[in-house]
Symmetry: C2
Subunit: 254 residues, 2 copies
């Protein structure tokens, strides 16, 4: 049995809490947060607390707050004997300060309000300085996910950067696709099967090998026609930059 205290009440805290509740070997002792409204989500199922000086004793303290608040929340845990972990992709382990036992428990996923995630498929990236702490994190992560990875703070930073490209920027391309559709009175849903297949290919083909399109073929005529169609200067800039970089990557001279 692993006892836990969850510090934070946002999306990630809610998702973790829901997953932990379904595991017999995990006991959530307490959820702590300043926001009473947010705490309401938890209060019927666990002890909640708004006062960070009243933290229960537990095996693991999971800090699931915004990056900027991690260091200050950690100071409330400096006298605890349990393992203190944060859940951020970009904050170094050392930001937790001079704790006895510190680590990182980073679920690499985008969590939305009200949308259930199959946590078994979510990669959980863990880090700890002490071997026993690492074993404890492995055990905890293994109880909720099939994909547990030990990585360093540097690797986690890179992973977070890569995630910005494949998640945030990709989503912005979808927004551009939607803008083009809306402008021409087309439903965006026409594009979703294509988008899904582009992603499905990742399971058996590296994206470098899956690349298609006018820029890869150096199809100058189509690219010029596309640029002319784009009224939005920003979208023209994205089109030009991508076409240039895809051309360079695949050895075309543009």
């Amino acid at each position: 049995m692993i006892s836990l205290v969850l510090l934070g009440t946002g999306n990630l805290a809610k998702h973790l809490f829901n997953v932990f509740l379904g595991v017999n070997e995990i006991r959530v002792l307490q959820v702590i947060g300043r926001n009473v409204d947010q705490l309401a989500h938890f209060k019927d199922r666990v002890v909640t607390e708004t006062d960070f000086t009243k933290i229960a004793d537990a095996d693991i303290y999971i800090i699931a707050v915004s990056d900027d608040a991690i260091a200050s929340v950690a100071t409330f845990l400096k006298d605890k004997n349990g393992l203190v972990v944060h859940t951020s992709g970009s904050v170094p382990l050392k930001s937790l300060g001079g704790l006895n036992k510190r680590g990182v428990f980073y679920p690499l996923q985008t969590f939305s309000e009200g949308k259930t995630i199959n946590f078994k498929e979510v990669p959980v990236c863990i880090e700890a300085e002490d071997k026993n702490d690492l074993e404890l994190l492995k055990k905890l992560a293994g109880l909720i996910s099939l994909k547990v990875h030990e990585i360093t703070s540097d690797q986690r930073k890179s992973l977070h950067l890569a995630a910005v490209f494949v998640n945030n920027f990709t989503n912005f391309l979808f927004t551009i696709g939607q803008d083009i559709c809306t402008e021409h009175n087309l439903p965006f849903s026409l594009l979703t099967p294509l988008i899904k297949e582009t992603v499905n290919k990742l399971d058996y083909l590296p994206p470098f090998d899956a690349q298609t399109g006018p820029a890869k073929r150096n199809d100058v005529k189509t690219m010029e026609s596309h640029l002319k169609q784009l009224k939005n200067k920003n979208y023209q800039d994205i089109y030009s930059l991508f076409s240039q970089l895809i051309g360079e990557k695949y050895g075309q001279k543009l």
Copy 2:
């Protein structure tokens, strides 16, 4: 019963052929292509022909060749009475020349060698000048797909442009993600659950509303740290441009 001749032997021709074979109401009379090796894929199951002057009489002729070759293939059909359609996203209907009956049959999907697609879910965008031709295309498309859309040549052109953003450019972002992972000794598979969830969100949330990340939050500290981490000047350019445009779109002053 709709009788068909398929002109072309590439990926799309193969996928269409396989789908048509499974439909009782469709009979493929002939597959025509110059490339004997490519024709071999079809020859045990249908009459094949390399000579474009020997095209069988059919209700519909489907030209599934590269954009540049469409107009010249169409000239071989100028004396036929059946409906002639091409399958391209970016070529106008008029490029088929002075045929009696012409139209467009554009399956909006990315087709890979050897990878089966559930055609029922593939949007088929159709266009024809004559009402009866349109009805025939609707019937044909409806036999293989649940998603039949009548759109104009202009709309199709825009759709193809949007597809470049959401498919080609998105895939290039995945390649950047993979490059960053490889450089830091991380498996790219760590990112695929995130990518899939980003796409799954499209089913219930418009991408504009789903946007997250440092650029949307105007988190200057994280963006500066990310730019510093990127050694590749091209990837820095993409990072800067996306961050700027996301910032503008969501009303941040960067």
